[in-house]
């Protein structure tokens, strides 16, 4: 009897303790979406940041002059209602007259002109400066709701850049009183987006509230809390205990196992990141090396079992690719030469090239070790003696800059931009050490696509350039990546084809 009483007392105490101190639950009951990010969020101003997490947050807090429809890649109005090229280097833009900043002040053309001119300014040191300096000469106010951009040269991608990279700030934000303050918006962000900052503890928690003055369609969910939880296992536990509604960058195995339970839903969406091998076709590392022979490069392409890598190592919505871009990107031609998995043909091509006994290939990689090892194994299987050098990204970059890398397993996310320009120039510009082809004509062709206004013509240029890359097997394109999310079963989180998570489009079921 005594023992019985003690048991009851213990159970009651445990229940009372659990009730008293159990954590708060996320969900529709308080109209609060709780999201987790592993990366510490330290700066809310996307004009001064670059990483993926900041792009996602900028979608919530900021608005740009234009939007790009993720389905059709068409330009949509946003802060600007329309644009017109006065001539090839003069762009007139008309703004909405009902846009307000988060502090309630009205947005004016002077704010927009200031933002662009500031980012171009040498003093800004903005992470968006490179983008703007590529084409902007100056921006000037021309009317109550209009402004004019004077372009330094013909640049048809100007609208895309305006949509993707430059967040509008109030006139004088960064240099009020002549004193430069690049961190002016780092924590106390005043922007124009669908959510405004309610509180921000850098590295810990960001609380966003719906901006009731937002000029566009207001988001369905009232509050978004973004917590920095570095450990994915802890995020998983929070999701299982109801403390989280949204996780991203979830490892496939975890996403699949937790997604199979009623506690969370696994969503697998596109990611604009692609994986590929870059081959030193020019012979920077060895002018007479095997990689300068097109048959060897074609053999490497045939040797790689890309569909299985995509299916089993990357998983989710990952797919094998055979062109040097993401199929969802504008201008990404997928009708180029394909080299299907065929180890016999690879061996034959190596023999034709005079390498029937194979050769030693130092292959560098910095991420996705399993995929890197699979690549090495496939190449070894056709007789290439692969010396896999798995290093940190910085080490790879240093060695590549010194032209010491004959081949590397690279990836590129295009900064979330669904246009081939976002991957082509960085990898085939003659100034870029990522370009191992040393092909001036190819570099010129890719540059010309960025200077062509007609979109159909741009497509044709990219088709030609991508066709050349494929024919000469300058790369061995591998696979697209997939983005794995775990979301609360109560959350409706739509996925877009460009792979950019837009939490502002979420709603409760």
């Amino acid at each position: 009897m005594q023992q019985f009483r003690w048991r009851h007392l213990g159970a009651a105490s445990a229940l009372a303790l659990a009730t008293a101190i159990s954590p708060a639950f996320a969900g529709p009951s308080d109209d609060t979406l709780r999201a987790a990010m592993s990366e510490e969020i330290l700066n809310l101003d996307y004009n001064y940041t670059t990483k993926r997490e900041y792009i996602i947050l900028a979608q919530l807090t900021d608005a740009t002059l234009f939007n790009i429809d993720p389905e059709t890649q068409e330009v949509l109005p946003s802060i600007a209602t329309s644009y017109e090229f006065f001539d090839e280097t003069t762009l007139d833009v008309t703004l909405r007259d009902d846009v307000k900043f988060h502090d309630g002040s009205k947005l004016t053309p002077a704010d927009v002109a200031y933002t662009y001119n500031w980012i171009k300014d040498e003093r800004s040191e903005s992470n968006a400066a490179g983008v703007v300096r590529r084409w902007l000469d100056t921006a000037e106010v021309t009317g109550e709701n209009t402004l004019r951009f004077h372009l330094a040269s013909v640049y048809p991608l100007v609208i895309r850049d305006m949509a993707a990279r430059i967040m509008i700030r109030k006139d004088g934000t960064y240099d009020a009183g002549g004193e430069v303050d690049r961190d002016a918006m780092a924590q106390d962000l005043i922007a124009t987006g669908p959510y405004k900052v309610a509180s921000f503890e850098p590295g810990t928690e960001l609380v966003l509230e719906r901006n009731e003055d937002y000029f566009g369609e207001k988001p369905a969910i009232g509050t978004i809390v973004v917590r920095n939880i570095p450990d994915i296992g802890t995020q998983q536990a929070e999701m299982m205990s109801g403390g989280l509604d949204w996780m991203f960058k979830v490892p496939l195995d975890l996403a699949q196992s937790l997604g199979a339970t009623p506690l969370a839903t696994h969503l697998s969406g596109n990611d604009l990141r692609v994986g590929f091998l870059v081959l030193d076709s020019h012979g920077y590392t060895d002018p007479e090396g095997p990689l300068t022979n097109v048959k060897v490069r074609q053999a490497i392409n045939h040797a790689l079992n890309k569909p299985e890598m995509a299916e089993y190592l990357i998983g989710g919505s990952s797919e094998a690719i055979h062109t040097a871009c993401h199929p969802a990107q504008f201008g990404c031609d997928t009708s180029v030469t394909d080299y299907p998995y065929d180890p016999e043909k690879a061996r034959a091509l190596l023999a034709e090239a005079g390498y029937e006994d194979g050769f030693t290939l130092p292959l560098w990689a910095y991420r996705d070790k399993a995929a890197a090892e699979a690549i090495a194994a496939d190449l070894t299987a056709v007789g290439i003696d692969v010396d896999l050098r798995y290093v940190k990204l910085q080490s790879l970059n240093q060695a590549r800059a010194a032209r010491e890398i004959p081949a590397y397993f690279g990836t590129w996310g295009s900064g979330g931009t669904a246009d081939t320009a976002a991957i082509a120039r960085i990898h085939f510009d003659m100034e870029s050490d990522r370009n191992m082809s040393g092909d001036q004509a190819l570099a010129d062709e890719i540059l010309s696509a960025e200077q062509t206004v007609d979109q159909e013509e741009r497509k044709e240029i990219y088709s030609s350039a991508l066709g050349k890359i494929a024919d000469e097997a300058l790369w061995a394109p591998l696979f697209t990546y997939s983005a794995n999310y775990l979301v609360s079963p109560e959350l409706d989180f739509p996925l877009d084809p460009d792979g950019l998570p837009r939490l502002q489009n979420s709603s409760w079921k």
Binding site: A14, L17, A18, I21, S22, P23, E40, L42, N43, T50, K51, R52, E125, N127, A129, G130, R182, D183, A186, E201, P202, G203, T204, R227, N228, I229, P230, D231, G233, T234, A237, E238, M240, S241, G242, G243, K392, L393, Q394, S395, N397, Q398, T411, W412, G413, S414, G415, I426, E431, S432, D433
Partner: protein
Amino acid sequence: MLRYIALRAALALAVAFTVSLAAFLLLNVAGDPAQAIAGEDATPDVIEAIRDRYGLDRPLPVRYFDWLGGVLQGDFGTSYYWHKPVAELVADRADETITLALSALSVTIIIALPLGALAALNPNSWIDRFALGVAVSAQAVPNFWLGLIMIILFGVMMPIFPVSGDSTWKHFVLPAFVLGASSVPAVMRLTRTGLIEVMGADYIRTARSKGFRGWPLLRRHAMRNALLPVISVLAVQLGQKFGGSVITESIFAINGLGRLALESILGMDIPTVQMLIFVFAIVFVAMNLLADILNAALDPRIRIG
């Protein structure tokens, strides 16, 4: 004694500077801080702008002595990531780590001392074996594993404690247990050994002859002497808790110095890493010094020159 303390303090500073130099060199050899700050897909112009902004294009000796000159004037530099003075950053985060370290030490004391005493009073019994089992298990279990198990048990299966964050005392319960558990074996075994040794001493026999038995004997006569080495070990363990908080803080998303250290190392935020290493080294050496002083103060047989 004062001369000894001054000597050890100077040694602590020398250790801190040496370690910070090693960290500075290793981080720079390991890669390009500008690339780490910019992220994986940063374009060369962005990386170059960052390199220029933080003076990362200057020679290593210039950068190190620039930092050293600042330190001698009390300026530890500005974080590349946080864009604020490192000293301010560290001060902001110190509360969480001090709370965690002290809580963890309390957990160690609460578990290890009674367990060690029980084992000493019942040598070679099942209690002793159980205590030994606890010690061996706690020593063998890595922090990150124990942390995840505790999260599953008390955060998911029985949602009693929050599993991440640091806003309330409840958030510190699981991490304090995890961090404190790793010190239990050393303290428990030392308590047991010390007590067994003391229990065989003449003065304990005398106390027994005067009628002391059990807890009164332990408390009034045995513990005082047996705990002398334990106290100095606890001081050292406290120093280790600061350094050891890196994993625990990351698992439980506690915004303390340990997590700051991990994020700074991964992000190659060199000024922050240098100051943290400086702080950790000073704390560690200070705790060792405290252990020596405590030993000297508590045990009249020990005299330091």
